[in-house]
């Protein structure tokens, strides 16, 4: 059966209200690699029978990269536009596929009139597992495999969430190992603060190469991510180290979806 994802407009027209709004984010909507993460999240939500909708073409950049690059005007214009849409639909609960969207919606929108309960997808997935709504037990392709988790700055340090993504990974029955720099001391992938959209400043190394060293020295077969930008940076770093054959970069949503036999 084809999996259909309704927009909030369609759902509202049918007189239905979703349990959550899935805020996809720009990377998750347009970047081919990140779209696979988005689809994995959608499959998980579907498998857990979570009534959800997306905004589709009504979703617009939260303004995070503009804000962190110094363009507060553009950020607040984006925020005002998004808040008007969200409030127009009476949205209460949002799950994001990106920690930057998560942080902005959760911490920066309330003061501008947008108050919602906002969850990062790893938090919501962890809830679904612990509430028994999502079964990961079968298949277990990751049983005993060594996995390490790269903390996204805006989920970890930015919002103090280190436990949920790790708890979700527990469901894989894998061999979870931590990197030398993890949790509060986790090293950035190099993409934040609008760096994703420009060349790095002069230096002697790329930040993602430095982080790739941390990843590789764990001997993990999979590096789990929770952010489409981290995912890109880690993938590039591993490619640069010529280690694509040894280690995969996968979002927690993809790992869970695969373990739950949803892909």
């Amino acid at each position: 059966m084809a999996l259909t994802v309704p927009t909030l407009a369609e759902m509202t027209a049918r007189g239905e209200t979703p349990e959550i709004l899935f805020w996809v984010g720009c990377a998750g909507s347009f970047d081919d690699r990140a779209k696979r993460i988005t689809k994995a999240i959608a499959r998980i939500l579907h498998a857990a029978d979570v009534p959800f909708a997306v905004l589709g073409s009504e979703e617009s950049c939260t303004g995070d990269p503009a804000k962190r690059a110094g363009n507060e005007f553009l950020f607040q214009m984006q925020a005002a536009q998004n808040i008007a849409v969200l409030n127009g639909y009476g949205v209460k609960r949002i799950v994001t596929g990106c920690p930057h969207c998560f942080n902005t919606l959760k911490n920066e929108y309330p003061e501008l009139g947008g108050e919602y309960e906002v969850l990062h997808h790893t938090q919501f997935i962890q809830q679904l597992i612990s509430e028994g709504r999502l079964k990961v037990a079968d298949g277990q392709p990751f049983k005993g495999r060594r996995i390490t988790f790269h903390d996204p700055c805006y989920l970890g340090r930015g919002n103090g969430e280190y436990a949920a993504p790790r708890a979700a990974l527990q469901a894989l029955d894998a061999d979870l190992v931590e990197m030398r720099r993890c949790k509060k001391n986790g090293l950035c992938c190099g993409a934040g603060g609008a760096q994703m959209f420009k060349d790095a400043e002069k230096g002697n190394r790329e930040v993602n190469h430095e982080r790739t060293d941390d990843v590789l020295s764990t001997g993990a077969k999979v590096v789990a991510t929770g952010c489409p930008f981290c995912n890109t940076m880690m993938t590039d770093g591993i490619k640069n180290a010529n280690r694509e054959g040894d280690i995969e970069v996968k979002d927690i949503a993809e790992l869970i979806a695969e373990a739950a036999d949803l892909l």
């Binding site: 909507s29 905004l55 005007f73 930015g158």
Partner: protein
């Protein structure tokens, strides 16, 4: 008579040090208040708790155990030995000797014993710190911004602390000898678990010599402490006072949150209201209000809290050693951002004093450009590692992002790729040039795939 002269000299020293210290504190406080307003009066309970945990409890210091634990020894030594300084002050002013001894009895012996062990601990920790700074290859003590004065400043403080502790122990050693010999004034008081091992150094001296050493060490110790008091507010070492208010006024919101600029909100609200005439007409004859300045170009454009942070920074460099940009050879060092901010607000303060309190059109310089370069600002990934690493909750990142705001909103200066990103967000609602209509394409793909 001798006593009286001593007491007068002591009083004069005390008044001089107090006056100089007070003048400097007023100067710093004035400089901090040059900053912009920010409200940090909310949640007092949480603020006291943060101060207790982070400043008093040193919770973030021990993240690095070697430096952290030794720092706690010096901190405890500083606080507790001040009880001894209180006695020294009373003795100095009233010509008494070990005035607390008769009141405290056995407790006095225990206290002095503890102070001696602490003094030894402080001495050892300071020597280890000197070795770490000057001999061991610890990268964060060798950054470019640490050359010259900052390095000397750190060494001066450590050497002075070593000397003060040595003087304190020598004073006790000589006092112990004087007590054993039953010399006049030297009441039998105190226990000398550490300084007794120094006694052989001074045991060969005559009675007069022993008294001279005891008095000399006493004067050196107290004069040293008073000089230290005057020196500290000119030094990075001022953190010993400012760490407390600085943590009290911590940003209590999640580290990922960046403030929404109120001046921008006002303008965006006007624009979104859709009525171009919504702005109230200015009353006739009104003085035109200066348009708001966006972001921080100079030190006074920062908030008073950010300026307080600059004065609180003790240049430990934990921020810089945690910074991904710095670790990969970029020009950015978060510690330098704090040092530059302090240097600049100091410069502004001095210029203000020289001009009798008026700033006018300024001195033609600015924090942005003359101290901090665009290259440094554009190297930041906003990962908050510097904020997390700071033992007293300073945010170098906050200053960096406020300066980016000035670059963009005042000067329209951005790397080309950033300008392109802005255009994409503005026109397509995404940082890349994809049409908004394609946002839902993945749902069609998913339907086809499943």
């Amino acid at each position: 008579m001798d006593h009286l002269i001593g007491q007068l000299v002591f009083l004069a020293l005390l008044i001089t040090a107090g006056t100089l210290f007070g003048r400097r504190i007023r100067q710093i406080s004035r400089n901090i208040k040059l900053g912009q307003d920010v409200d940090r009066s909310d949640r007092p309970g949480e603020r006291w708790a943060t101060m207790a945990r982070v400043a008093m409890g040193q919770s973030k210091m021990v993240v690095r155990p070697v430096a952290g634990l030794m720092h706690i020894v010096i901190y405890a030594g500083f606080i507790l030995i001040n009880i001894e300084v209180l006695e020294i002050l009373i003795d100095g002013l009233f010509g008494t000797h070990r005035v607390f001894a008769p009141y405290l009895g056995g407790v006095y012996d225990i206290l002095i014993g503890c102070f001696e062990w602490l003094a030894l601990g402080v001495l050892v920790a300071c020597v280890v710190f000197l070795v770490r700074r000057n001999v061991l290859p610890i990268a964060r003590f060798r950054s470019p911004e640490m050359q010259g004065w900052p390095k000397n400043d750190a060494n001066i403080i450590l050497v002075v602390e070593v000397l003060l502790m040595f003087a304190f122990l020598s004073m006790n050693a000589a006092d112990g000898i004087a007590q054993a010999r039953g010399l006049e004034h030297y009441v039998n008081a105190g226990s000398f678990p550490v300084s007794q091992h120094l006694q052989p150094l001074y045991a060969g001296f005559s009675d007069g010599g022993v008294v001279l050493i005891e008095r000399g060490a006493w004067w050196f110790h107290i004069a040293g402490i008073l000089s230290f008091l005057v020196y500290v507010p000119y030094s990075k070492h001022f953190h010993i006072f400012l760490a407390f208010p600085n943590t009290y006024y911590s940003d209590l919101t999640p580290a990922g949150r960046l403030d929404n600029m109120a001046a921008v909100k006002k303008e965006v609200d006007l624009m979104m209201s859709g009525d171009p005439f919504a702005a109230p007409a200015e009353p006739e004859g009104a003085v035109p209000i200066e348009p708001p300045k966006f972001g921080a170009k100079d030190a006074q454009d920062l908030t008073w809290k950010q300026l307080m942070e600059a004065y609180s920074c003790t240049e430990c460099g934990r921020c810089t050693s945690a910074c991904p940009a710095n670790a990969t050879g970029k020009l950015l060092s978060p510690r330098k951002i704090m040092m530059d901010t302090r240097d600049r607000i100091e410069e502004i303060g001095q210029a203000l004093d020289a001009a009798g309190g008026t700033w006018g059109d300024g001195d033609g310089k600015a924090l942005l450009g003359d101290y901090i370069t665009e290259e440094e600002l554009w190297a930041c990934t906003s990962c908050q590692a510097c904020v997390e690493a700071c033992p007293i909750n300073i945010s170098p990142m906050g200053i960096i992002l406020d300066m980016r705001r000035s670059l963009i909103m005042e000067d329209s200066k951005a790397p080309e790729a950033i300008t392109a990103m802005f255009n994409n967000v503005e026109n397509n609602g995404a940082p890349w040039a994809f049409p908004a209509a394609d946002r839902g394409k993945w749902t069609e793909e998913l339907s086809a795939e499943s």
